[in-house]
């Protein structure tokens, strides 16, 4: 699949923002006043910035409000509704924490749950796409939620939670690849089933229907990016998980080192989210003799 920058930015940063909101909803860190304001500001800039970025790839963004209407069937619509609900509840909660020095615990917990549900909604946009077997698996929501919780713990300054989460995320990301690499073959879709001609013999694409690339090939048969996939996986996991972990647990601990670890983590997340799209193979590629 085509790794659109706006979508990579959206999934990474809104994930981080809602991850941080989840921790803030649980009262971690337990600040009030201006310090709390800064934490909420970062969370909202990330979450809302990510959501706004997602509208950049739309053909007609002026109609984006219509996307809240089909929550009965569409995960994209559900995600939008959940995001608005989470931001509203957490906004009210933030007023209490920042301005009134009051923590409405129940409201915070509801906000945290909605924030996490929003990340789940984002992941389900991809999980529901059965035409991309690598995505259409229970490991996708788990991966997205682990990303959000790890980044959230990091941003919330919860080092004792963030450090083990970093390792867990790194391990799960590798598990995701080990399982994911086999899913397309396991789905049973081949050029033979795609054309229905499998009973007659081996099928090979003889002539393409068009002389240059079309929308389908640009959007769903993105094979160029997979060339360096292995190298990027290693660099990505090092930046996402291992290096930040070492920086956090090895003394001495300074805020500057913690910031460096955070930047590495976000950089790793961006690389791996790029790969999440670039490595995803769509069944339409079969019609072009590719994957």
């Amino acid at each position: 699949m085509h790794p659109a920058p706006s979508i990579i930015f959206f999934t990474v940063f809104s994930g981080l923002g809602f991850g941080l909101l989840t921790f803030l909803g649980f009262g971690k860190p337990d600040y009030s006043g201006f310090t709390a304001f800064i934490f909420f500001l970062i969370a909202y800039v990330f979450a809302v910035g990510g959501l706004v970025s997602s509208t950049f790839h739309l053909g007609n963004p002026q109609r984006a409000l219509k996307a809240f209407s089909q929550w009965r069937s569409s995960w994209l619509s559900r995600e939008g509704c959940l995001a608005v609900a989470a931001l509203t509840v957490m906004g009210i909660y933030a007023i209490g924490v920042v301005f009134l020095d009051t923590r409405w615990t129940l409201l915070g917990l509801v906000g945290a749950a909605l924030s996490l549900a929003t990340v789940f909604g984002t992941s389900m946009i991809y999980t529901q796409i059965t035409t991309v077997p690598r995505w259409s698996h229970w490991t996708t929501p788990v991966l997205f939620i682990l990303y959000a919780l790890t980044g959230g713990a990091f941003l919330a300054g919860q080092t004792s939670i963030a450090a083990p989460m970093l390792l867990l995320l790194g391990v799960f990301q590798c598990v995701y690849w080990i399982i994911g690499d086999k899913l397309f073959s396991a789905s049973g879709s081949t050029i033979e089933t795609a054309t229905g001609l499998g009973s007659m013999g081996k099928i090979r694409m003889f002539e393409a229907p068009h002389s240059s690339k079309n929308y389908l090939m640009k959007e769903m048969v993105h094979v160029v990016g997979r060339k360096h996939a292995r190298t990027l996986r290693i660099i990505g996991v090092l930046c996402l998980s291992l290096l930040p972990y070492l920086l956090l647990v090895l003394p001495p601990f300074y805020h500057l080192i913690s910031l460096l670890a955070l930047l590495l983590h976000i950089g790793g997340a961006l690389i791996l989210r790029w790969l999440f799209f670039a490595e995803a193979e769509h069944t339409v590629g079969l019609y072009y003799g590719q994957r």
């Binding site: 219509k66 569409s74 946009i125 079309n214």
Partner: protein, 247 residues
């Protein structure tokens, strides 16, 4: 509404005969011609006279080489457009309600004034039947020529999809696949019509008729087509003998 109807009164669709399709792409052109000037936004082209032309098409013809375990390989031309699936995954993912499946005839359509151009429906379609128009930013797909098939301003013979009307080899058929007594249903039953990627559970309405097996027997006219002169005669015969003597 992007929830799929539990039942449609008709299942209008196409039956495509892979045995008779000659791969001329006339259906591609007639489709583009009709649909660029009728229902919805025109089907734009990008850089049409340049080095890297591309454009929106609702119907495309692939060609495949089939190599059996024994015997000669053959070419199969393979037209592909929206299959108007009963369980259409493109409809349910739509966040705005722009995509829908009609209860009265089962046609899957896009209401372009509601489409935000997010492209998720094109991702959800296993067959590559939907293409985003790069000029309008809305999703385009086969409408089964909904503006022809019910159009009383057209002569009755023209009230079928443009691709079917234009096909010079009679490889495309249009009708109600929900009615067992319809011509298309009988054709599917008789010729073993098949679904594309049935493993994905989309339940396509359109069916494909597999190519008939090639005859093993040599045609009865073949003896009359045998080479007349096995041995070279006249000047060539003399040349042949002379060259043999020298060699």
């Amino acid at each position: 509404m992007t929830q799929l109807p539990t039942h449609t009164e008709k299942k209008l669709g196409l039956v495509i005969d892979l045995d008779t399709c000659v791969g001329c792409h006339a259906c591609v052109i007639s489709c583009k011609g009709w649909n660029t000037e009728n229902y919805g936004a025109p089907l734009s082209d990008q850089n049409p006279y340049g080095a890297d032309p591309s454009g929106t098409f609702l119907n495309r013809v692939h060609s495949y080489e089939v190599t059996p375990d024994e015997g000669a390989a053959m070419t199969v031309h393979f037209p592909k457009s929206c299959l108007h699936c009963e369980d259409a995954p493109c409809v349910t993912v739509c966040p705005t309600g722009a995509s829908y499946k009609r209860v009265e005839d089962g046609i899957v359509l896009v209401n372009e004034s509601d489409c935000i151009g997010c492209g998720l429906c094109a991702w959800a379609c296993p067959y590559g039947a939907r293409e985003m128009d790069q000029a309008e930013g809305v999703m385009k797909k086969c409408t089964l020529c909904v503006d022809r098939i019910y159009n009383e301003n057209l002569p009755e013979i023209d009230r079928e999809p443009a691709c079917v009307r234009t096909c010079p080899s009679g490889a495309r058929h249009f009708g109600d696949l929900g009615d067992e007594t319809s011509d298309v249903s009988k054709l599917v039953a008789e010729r073993g019509g098949m679904d594309l990627m049935p493993e994905l559970g989309t339940k396509p309405v359109n069916k494909y008729l597999p190519p008939r097996p090639k005859d093993d027997q040599i045609d009865i006219l073949a003896p009359f087509l045998e080479t007349v002169a096995e041995e070279p005669q006249g000047f060539l015969g003399w040349l042949d003998k002379t060259l043999e003597r020298i060699g």
